[in-house]
Symmetry: C2
Subunit: 457 residues, 2 copies
């Protein structure tokens, strides 16, 4: 049996990011400003540095990774691609399962792939401090690390429910010199407004984004900008190193295109990272089933229409063309905090509208069961977010068994679960239950945004 | 600049363990039984399976890794060797620093390297359950994982101070199906004796070993054995994959033998793993400075004589030839729980007696400072144990700078610190202080074992 881990020789390491916006058959609709007109780049300038805004709106297919960014990414990249012989044997499937392991990064997930370039571009633009939000803490850790690499200050608003569940995420951020506060906080007008309505609010990514954006744009020195860990085009762009490396590694493993590509999907950046290079292949004619996996408690791609909606609860962001449960939606406090976002990345949503995706929603008990199976068979303990991808891997491997087809399945192992063991303890104690949204619950949410404009493709 | 991570092609993966006992100029003295005579293998049979006892006493230079063991190790091996360009630049040193990263294993440290073969050999011998002790929890996690891979039950006695500091280690063990209790416990005669004297005992590895051995040998079915995570010859043997892989990777990086090899040393297995293949080179004439790094609060190699002593507090183990602070020594509750052991592996101790090592003791504030520097410059957050190796790396890199020599430094990054963030939080809060033992404190400890026999080389 060959070695399960497929590494990548230095001369095959990708040196460019792939921009799906260049290849989508129908172009990405623009974000809209308060006047209902497409947002102009300069309107975003108080929030992001201009060099990242240029990336955000770029339709160039390949964008060079700056040398200093590449050298920093290479502290842990290329990440291993693992052929899961043990899981295949355990499931008795003819499928060949490959998992791209993003858990080996400093912060333990794929998030540093974009944190590093975001910190670098901000520093290049003369920015001295970044603010951001974080759900499970993966992104807050990643941006703290990236800021420490490039000498920036960093302030992180962490969703309250995760802040309480995962106290050591704060310590991680502090090790890297970042500052972390629970959101909603009393430090911003947005946070105070939420607390006034509900002092015990568990928080949400939407609320935390409002706080972080406010903290950036109200800095009187002008030296602060905001960084977002998912959703935006430039974030998805930076994550494509995952899929690009996996393509090279699959070739080394003697494979052609995979039959199935799987990634968990909250805001969409992990899914984008692993899938966009393969969506390109699909657009060019390859037969690939591409599966974003979302929690049944926050089913954007599977249960909501394509609409314009805000990225945050305080409606500070432009209206973005996406699948959304509504910017004021507060999801169940599931342990997969990184998947608790009301919307889906515009690029991912746009690909969905063009029939390129086969989304799936999975409830949490199935995900934890998949995670424990994985740990006992393949070793590592996955993040609750990652467990959604693994649940889909197991479903697809069992389907391949029923069909008797030796399918090639590629999935992204987005992060490890070592900061999320509270959830595992509760699962093992039998304290968790399924919390999927019913169609009626979804409809109630959608009612609130029914008058929003609809994007045109 | 070339890529920092040096992987290893499958055809260069080591398929044999290296046994230092074959090459030590003066042979390893035997362990002694209660009668003062060398222990016969059959006397150990209630504790260990005979196939591992054979490895324990083997003087064969190379021992083949069984195919099923190798396939399991390859789920995460070969581990990355990383050239630390960023740290070199930060320190302004002409040294070339290489770090072998064992933190990528399922349990997050080097421990699974021996847990996997130990579980496999026990299963081959017909054993159904393993008992063990754990300090920081690294070993207990590793053996739980390994037992789950080979269908064994597993019970772990965890040193109380670490059990309280690191509650999630228990959850990790449970994810892999292991059972974890705090030691001293009321489940064994050894534990009850300690609790009777001091109900608030913080525990020690020596106490936990007594409990685990007792739980194994008193199983009336005879289907239980004990597994030890360090100290013993076969454990050090299994860890040599670290150094053997590093040798191959250094060749790929264009290096000859390193000038300095560094590993943290508690019981000695991590140090043994990275260093033994290089001690062989040194015995064969290479100029290599080989540095085991121990905590100043538990200074066995740097401050104690070579003597016979028991491995555990209840004196259930044979007398072993080693550097020791005495089997009843209870070290300060430092966060580097894996280095809180009163003795040092007989093979490492024997190498020290033959002038092959240059041991170093470092106190905890210097170690935490090194760890935070590492995290901010190289990314990952190291285990408190690992921080001892990193403190020595920084000292050696600064020495190379003073001397103006482009030395090659190799160190083992034994594990990550994600389960040890309590210690970081206390360090960042300024709550930690140095706790190194004075010569007088050491002498008091040694007085208790002054009448023990002395090993003859």
């Amino acid at each position: 049996m060959p070695a399960p881990i497929i590494s990548l020789p230095p001369d095959r390491i990708p040196r460019r990011w792939y921009n799906l916006a260049a290849d989508l058959p129908k172009a990405l609709p623009p974000p809209l400003g308060p006047d209902g007109q497409p947002v102009r780049p300069e309107q975003l300038a108080p929030v992001f540095p201009m060099n990242l805004i240029e990336q955000e709106v770029s339709t160039q297919r390949w964008i060079d990774i700056p040398e200093e960014v590449l050298q920093t990414l290479l502290q842990w990249r290329p990440t291993p691609l693992r052929r899961c012989y043990a899981l295949e044997k355990h499931l008795g499937t003819p499928a060949r399962i490959y998992v791209k392991d993003e858990s080996v990064s400093p912060a333990g997930s794929h998030k540093p792939n974009t944190a590093v370039p975001q910190a670098w571009y901000n520093r290049e633009f003369g920015i001295r401090k970044l603010t951001t939000e974080t759900g499970a803490g993966q992104w807050g850790s990643a941006i703290s690390y990236a800021c420490s690499r490039f000498g920036l200050s960093c302030k992180v608003f962490m969703v309250r429910v995760s802040f309480d569940q995962k106290p050591f995420r704060k310590t991680m951020m502090q090790v890297w010199g970042g500052q972390c506060v629970a959101s909603p906080s009393s430090e911003t007008a947005a946070g105070r407004a939420v607390l006034a309505e509900n002092p015990n609010s568990p928080g949400s990514l939407g609320i935390a984004i409002s706080e972080a954006v406010e903290a950036a744009v109200t800095d009187p020195t002008g030296g602060t900008r905001y960084a977002l860990g998912s959703v935006l085009n430039h974030v998805c762009l930076h994550q494509t190193v995952i899929g690009l490396e996996a393509q090279e590694q699959l070739v080394l493993a003697g494979e052609k295109n995979p039959d199935v590509v799987i990634g968990c999907a909250g805001g969409g950046s992990n899914f984008a990272g692993v899938s966009f290079p393969f969506i390109r292949e699909k657009i060019n004619g390859a037969q690939i089933t591409i599966i974003p996996v979302e929690p049944a408690s926050c089913p954007t791609l599977t249960k909501t229409p394509y609409t314009y909606d805000h990225g945050d609860i305080a409606r500070m962001t432009p209206l973005m063309p996406m699948h959304s449960l509504g910017h004021s939606f507060v999801p169940s406090p599931i342990h997969a905090g990184g998947l608790r976002y009301h919307g889906m990345a515009p690029t991912v949503s746009c690909a969905q509208e063009q029939g390129l995706l086969s989304p799936l929603a999975v409830d949490q008990l199935e995900c934890y069961a998949a995670a424990v199976t994985w740990a006992r068979v393949e070793g590592n303990i996955p993040a609750p977010e990652t467990s959604h991808a693994l649940a889909a891997v197991i479903r697809e491997a069992e389907k391949a068994k029923q069909e008797g087809k030796a399918k090639v399945i590629l999935a992204c192992y987005s992060g490890h679960g070592l900061m999320d063991l509270v959830g595992y303890q509760r699962y093992l104690n039998g304290e968790l239950q399924d919390v999927g949204m019913s169609d009626m619950e979804v409809q109630k949410c959608l009612h609130r945004i029914k008058d929003h404009p609809k994007p045109k493709l």
